[in-house]
């Protein structure tokens, strides 16, 4: 059974079919790419998968569990975490606190324990600090742990977003254009990190990307989206050599 199974997903906005009859199956541990020209509906699919929008049609199964139409928080608790195309960090919180916010549902103490500074507060906060620093180390952000998130350089902000998503202990990680705005060196480094996350965190990753070098470098399978519909899907090398894909990107 596939880890994520999406069947006939569709949504329209004011008569325009943004996503139509979208189906995909992603196996556990896979690094899966979702590509397509601008406006093809890629981010809309992420928004459907994470409950930002409710689909008009179709079902989403995560490990066989139907999560269609659930709320964003419920879906996160079921095991899907994401990053955003336009970075959405908690800009006035520290780098460390951004990750600790991600740990919110896994390390608990009550509000009263927090206000009264009971022993549990100190114990859990210490555990959170340790776990958050571990995650920051993966992304080479541990040196900047006490920076305000908005003061990080752009590339690091993207990494911090991934770290925060990982903190929620997802089974499936959705990355929306993780390499956007990065230079070739940073992108190469990011590819390594993504692979590292997949291998060491036992993660399944679905990513949207325009950088073909990154896509062909790390994605095992691809789905190409055009005008809200699946143009083709399959092994990366096959898909990238497909004439229709080249036409969709470059025109006739």
């Amino acid at each position: 059974m596939a880890m994520l199974e999406v069947k006939n997903l569709g949504i329209s906005f004011g008569g325009l079919k943004a996503v139509d009859d979208f189906s995909v199956a992603i196996e556990k541990g896979q690094l899966y790419g979702l590509i397509g020209p601008n406006g093809a509906g890629k981010t809309t699919i992420f928004n459907l998968l994470t409950g930002v929008y409710r689909p008009d049609t179709g079902t989403i199964l995560l490990n066989g569990q139907n999560i269609t139409g659930k709320k964003t928080i419920e879906i996160n608790q079921c095991g899907i975490a994401r990053t955003f195309q336009n970075i959405r960090l908690f800009k006035d919180l520290s780098v460390l606190d951004n990750v600790k916010a991600g740990l919110h549902n896994h390390y608990r103490y009550s509000t009263v324990e927090g206000i009264l500074r009971l022993p549990r507060y100190y114990k859990v906060e210490k555990q959170m600090d340790e776990r958050a620093m571990e995650l920051l180390k993966v992304f080479d952000l541990d040196g900047e742990w006490d920076y305000k998130a908005s003061n990080l350089p752009y590339g690091k902000q993207r990494k911090l977003e991934i770290a925060r998503a990982l903190a929620t202990e997802p089974k499936l990680l959705l990355l929306d254009e993780p390499a956007a705005g990065m230079n070739p060196n940073e992108t190469a480094e990011l590819m390594e990190t993504i692979r590292f996350v997949r291998d060491n965190f036992d993660m399944t990753i679905l990513l949207i990307e325009h950088d073909m070098k990154l896509v062909s470098g790390i994605c095992e399978r691809l789905t190409v989206l055009n005008f809200g519909q699946v143009l083709t899907q399959g092994e990366t090398s096959e898909v990238l050599n497909d004439k229709r894909v080249i036409t969709a990107y470059l025109g006739e």
Binding site: T43, N47, V52, F84
Partner: protein, 293 residues
Amino acid sequence: MSFLSYLINGISLGSIYAIIALGYTMVYGIARMLNFAHGDIIMVGGFAIFTIVSTMGLPPFLGILVAVAVCTVLGVTIERVAYRPLRGASSLAVLITAIGVSYLLQNMALLIFGSNARQFTSVVTLPNLKLADGALTISSVTIVTIISCIVIMAALTSFINKTKIGQAMLAVSEDNGAATLMGIDVNRTIAITFAIGSALAAIAGALLCSTYPSLTPYTGSMPGIKAFVAAVFGGIGSIPGALIGGILLGVIENLSKAYISSQLSDAIVFSVLIIVLLVRPTGILGRKINEKV
């Protein structure tokens, strides 16, 4: 019959709210700020007329003319001195500054005119209208107020739709940055908006004080808040919304004063506002805004 009379008085009060609400709504639509001092400009208008008519004994129309001039200049000056430097600052900072301006106007009036209520002579000198053999009397102020409101609405709508400045105002309210790129002078457009809003506030002041002829430095405060509520009610940023919101508010307030409790009328007005906003979070005619993810 008494119901009809309450209703007409409600519409008249609502017309005043609507004229004030226009100032709020236009400024909000264009500068994205809540001009808390707007209500106090009404009061300044009231005192300008009071000075001209009651103190100097000049004719009322001259009083209105002077009030409009004073308020327009005042509105533009406030915008230039207090609000323009804050363009680009947080909306909360602008709000607090507006509150400061409101205090300033109130206390200046307090210094000049004192805290005692002044008797305001109505600017409308026409006889009252008696209908149905005297069973229904409609005061001339009421009629003038409703007519003024209709005229102002019509004039403003055609001004915005037909003139270049009006189009510029629409453009700025739609997208400030894009309007700048299209060669529209945003600062000038905002200044004109303040000028129009303040001139309307002067007229509202004349009508308000003619209906409720007691004038203090705090006269504008509560009607200002209510008009702000009316603007939100109708959908802030929308001109027809200000009209609908204002009239509805006036009618609800007057009817609940008459039939339920005069002490609770404000509570009822505010409750209706809350219910409307819970059903339609951006007001009756407000546009729905979706945040893009």
